[in-house]
Amino acid sequence: MTATEMRPDAAHALIAARAPRRWGAWYVAEHRFRGMKAYTQTVIATGIGSPLMYLFAMGVGLASLVDANVEQNGLAVSYLVFVAPALLAMAAFEAAAEEFSYPIMLGFKWNPIFTGMGASPVTPGQIIDGQVIAVTVRIAVTSGLYYLFMLLFGAVPGEFGWVSLGSAVLTGLAFGTLLMAYVATLENDSGQIAMVMRFLVLPLTLFSGTVFPLTQLPWFLQWIGWLSPLWHGTELGRVVSYGHPEPAWLSIVHVAYLLLLTVVGWMLARRVAARRLNR
């Protein structure tokens, strides 16, 4: 079909869909931002409250009990410096778990705005992309605030510490996009999301070499860390924050693994959404 033989209303449609085809994901993100406005206060309050609380509890409170410095691979640092990159990654991880779970279920089921979007020129894939864009910004804001408090507590000795912001956001996305893909498959929530929070999110936060080095776990449990995006993100954060000594190939593995999970989760979520919205 060429433009010359096309009927005028079809040609008109082709022009009208140009912008949505290109920018659809950004329109969806814009919508999500508007929705987030309702709980900006909560985001800011937790964004400030939780770094203050955790950095104090861990870096001041617990540090008073952890007698010596924490030594890993021959480099010993204070407990605060050791734990700060983990706390940053955890904050991103938790924010992602929150934003990619119930709000996604909400959009598909409880208040099916995704179905509404689907009737517009926007495609299911773009709806997913829009969520990723909006949540990335949200995680970045949370992580940014966290990082400021880390600086204030003197928890970042290295000059490339700010790079850990990137690894934190990537940690959130690596887990979050997979979670979104899973939630998108749920026809009904009879507690599945709460179970994910209890039996995946919480154990991962506690056992991913975050508040103590992974090597403290018995050898038969250390695989938790290797699979956990949080461990990879935390270790990466430690490398840039205080020069945690590890072979370069391992750092590359961290980045590659996080990117891989992000891409796989993202693509899966797009497929699930396309199937769910086109029935």
Binding site: Q41, T42, G49, A57, G61, S190, G191, M195, F207
Partner: protein, 273 residues
């Protein structure tokens, strides 16, 4: 219990009678609703403190070594935080049931209005809901104590008394939580509960002793309920028992009483007046 607080004069106005001696039916309804919808979620709540205990107690414990227990003796870090997590488990179980659950019932499902239309009075509801929260807290606590025993973290026979102590703590949080919830209007308000619970959880001498704070801050924390719960339970499971612990008991007894009186009044104001 305190049935007498329902003044006889009130029962003259028929429907606003406070107590019909039937809190059990309120509980039964609650159990049925839980059992049919999300018992798995409820049971899973039991694992949360265990994850904390394993991570902080065993993993982090290796970095910390021994710490000074309540009697001045050195005890392993896991034995230090386990009683605190036990008190927290009781708090969480009780608070969840008495806040979120009650909030939904008041705001969305209008269950109380239906109940109050029968012979049930607000005191039945308050007592029933609080007992329900208590049972849940008790289940979590019992499971957790078994785990403590297996890991060798109960250092004394006094630990047996930790169980009733935990029930008392749960009843304090449950009745107070329900009273507070009856004033809540929106979800944002409900978020505040988390804003209060989280720091209380982190800072009530749960993971590290109070001595890291300046005296003023110590005083504030000692005014909050969780600290009393942690101290009480820790004294019992480590066997460092002393008369002063009765103050903690008194604290929760008063908290329970104040909570239930306020809840009953509020329910009456909300639905009957």
């Amino acid at each position: 219990m305190s049935v007498q607080i329902a003044p006889a004069r009130r029962s003259v106005n028929g429907p606003s009678a406070l107590y019909a001696g039937n809190a059990r039916s309120v509980m039964l309804r609650g159990w049925r609703a839980t059992a049919s919808t999300n018992w798995l979620v409820m049971v899973s709540g039991f694992f949360e403190p265990i994850f904390y205990l394993l991570s902080m107690g065993i993993g982090l414990g290796a970095l910390v070594g021994n710490v000074e227990g309540p009697g001045g003796t050195e005890i392993p870090y896991a034995a230090f935080i386990a009683p605190a997590l036990l008190a927290v488990a009781a708090m969480n179980g009780a608070v969840y049931d008495s806040t979120w659950n009650v909030f939904f019932k008041i705001k969305f499902s209008k269950i109380y209005e239906g109940m109050l239309a029968t012979s049930l009075g607000p005191f039945d509801i308050a007592l029933g809901e609080i007992s329900l929260a208590l049972i849940r807290g008790a289940m979590y606590a019992f499971g957790f104590m078994v785990v403590m025993q297996v890991l060798g973290l109960n250092l004394s026979w006094w630990a047996l008394l930790a169980f009733p102590a935990v029930l008392l703590i749960a009843s304090g949080f449950a009745s107070f939580g329900m009273a507070v919830t009856s004033y809540m209007k929106t979800f944002q308000h409900m978020d505040w509960i988390n804003f209060i619970l989280m720091p209380m959880f982190m800072f009530s001498a749960t993971f590290f002793p109070l001595s890291v704070y300046p005296p003023d801050v110590q005083f504030v924390i000692q005014a909050l309920p969780l600290w009393h719960g942690v101290e009480l339970v820790r004294g019992l499971t480590t066997g460092a028992v002393e008369m002063g612990m009765l103050w903690h008991v008194l604290y929760f007894a008063v908290m329970s009483l104040v909570g239930i009186v306020f809840t009953t009044r509020r329910l009456r104001a909300l639905f009957l007046d």
